[in-house]
Amino acid sequence: MEKKIRVLVAKPGLDGHDRGAKVVARALRDAGMEVIYAGLHQTAEMIVETAIQEDVDVIALSLLSGAHMTLFVDVTKLLKDKNMEDVLVVGGGVIPKEDIPALKKAGIAGVFGPGTPTDDIVDFIKKNVKK
């Protein structure tokens, strides 16, 4: 049997808008992935620590507060420091289009804005998972 893709869904920072993160967590689970939902108020250190412990293939970040340029990038920086660039990082939330190129450059492979069908996220992960 093919190994299930393991995904950590996390909300970095203080933002409490968790509707999207929960919906995505469920959609990924329904698509056959193993989902670890870290929940709210995660620091980059906490997220990366959980990613190591749970040996995940993917980290899915969600943020609606507008702090994505700092908080998403904190996570990819830390992954780089730990030589964990084989973990696929995706992010979603209220993200202006102008910010997307910089996020991609910083290692957020997929950025999903409002109105994204959950299937698009599932497909993207399946296609791009590195491990």
């Binding site: 509707r19 919906v23 507060s65 507008g66 702090a67 904190d74 209220v94 202006p96």
Partner: protein
Amino acid sequence: MYNKKELNRIKEKKIDWEKNHYSKLVKIHPERKDKFENLSGTEIKNIYTPEDIEHLEYNKDIGFPGEYPFLRGVHSTMHRGRLWTMRQFAGFGSAEETNERYKYLLEHGETGLSVAFDYPTLYGYDTDNLLARGEFGKCGVAISSLKDMEILFDGIPVDDVTTSMTINGPAAIVWAMYVANAENRGISKKIIGGTIQNDILKEYIAQKSFIFPPEPSMRLIVDTFEYGFKQVPRWNTISISGYHIREAGSTAVQELAFTLGDGIEYVKAAMKRGLDIDKFAPRLSFFFNAHNDFFEEIAKYRAARRIWAKELKKLGAKKTRSLLMRFHTQTAGCTLTAQQPEINIVRVTLQALAAVLGGTQSLHTNSMDEALALPSEKAVRIALRTQQIIAEESGVTDTIDPLGGSYYIEWLTDKMEEETYRYFDKVEKFGGVIPAIEKGFFQREIAESAYRYQKEIDENKRIVVGVNDYKTDEELSIPILRMDEKGEQRQINRLKKLRRERNQSKFDRNLKRLKKAAEGDENLMPYILDCVHGYATLGETCDVLREVFGEYKEPAIY
């Protein structure tokens, strides 16, 4: 409401119509769907007639505005007497930038202020706290001390304009800053008016900006109730909110039931303290969402008024004012699309109209660009103009509760009330709201509804214009609000200066006294006011309480 004979004639006629007209046509031209359902999953019939509301007694169940059970409105003149307060939720960056936005809004005809705070402020952290990283001013204004509050309201007549503040965990402290600022400007706290959200139960349920565990949080809230009716009598010391429950994905019925359930919980907590219900209940206010299903939203507000009046009466309230479900409305942020953002103006118009027809006391209309970022000046002006058009041009304000008596609206109002009581029973079985939160009941209910809604969109069972149908390839071209990058450093410098210049021994003494009071059971408001007056920061004051009360960690459920 109808005599038996007349009702029988209507029933006979309806059977005839169904058989000889309706069914025949449906056979040739089937309807668009097999089943019509509203957003709460309630099946909607093809037509409503007097038969659907035959059980209602006009004077008892519907009545007149300003009279029990207040179904048709809380005042006897409603919008004929006074329009709702046009109150745009606003805040970003530093106190200076937001102060400018408030003046802009007031200049353009806004009639009340509403403060959006950034995340560090909502969690009781100062801007220079490590946990505040990246969040300064992002989705609201950063207020770390009385100094910031002074700047935020500089040049704004706080004795005249009312201010609503969306603050929960640290509500008592931020309110104290507002009161202290007014006092320092020589304005008596007896005359200032406004609202603090201060609704912690829905934070655990949906919005998630909590600090302390339930028990001390409820204590702080009751402290504000008591201090409010004694010292700041024109202040609404709570805004019991369904808005965030709905935004988190609940249905309209869940929003209605969970919000009123929370309200009853607060009343019980205050009565347990020994407070007189007729003293604090008149200062309880509400906050609802205005989502897409036009009639369902109107029925929701009407049902809320009747249920609240009934429940408060049961709890022993005697004064008319205690029974009034007065509410603010905000159009549903979660319905805004990033695709074709201009069409959000139309969504907002319909939602705002529902709120007005539902008898709102205060209204925020979202700006078209809010699925992308905080609103630009132009976008927010259009949103405000939308309210002004409804108020001045549409004529819907000329009579009270114009949809009252509609067979459909009255039926739906009743139905939503019935379902609300079903939820009350469920929560009762958990042993009340707090045990139900701890067991994840509300969180699961909401997550379930949110997922169902998304699935329906993904599967094209529910159409969202511009998202899963009627799409265009047009490039997005609306200007996005960008903030002053230097604001954060300015704020940090201000904090440093404040800590350096304040009277340190007085500061130490104030915090020590607050800690001691928190360990006992006195009302904390006077102690908090002393701290704030002495320029203790929000973070420093909250830290004292965190030390005594501990912090809440939520069960992660999806």
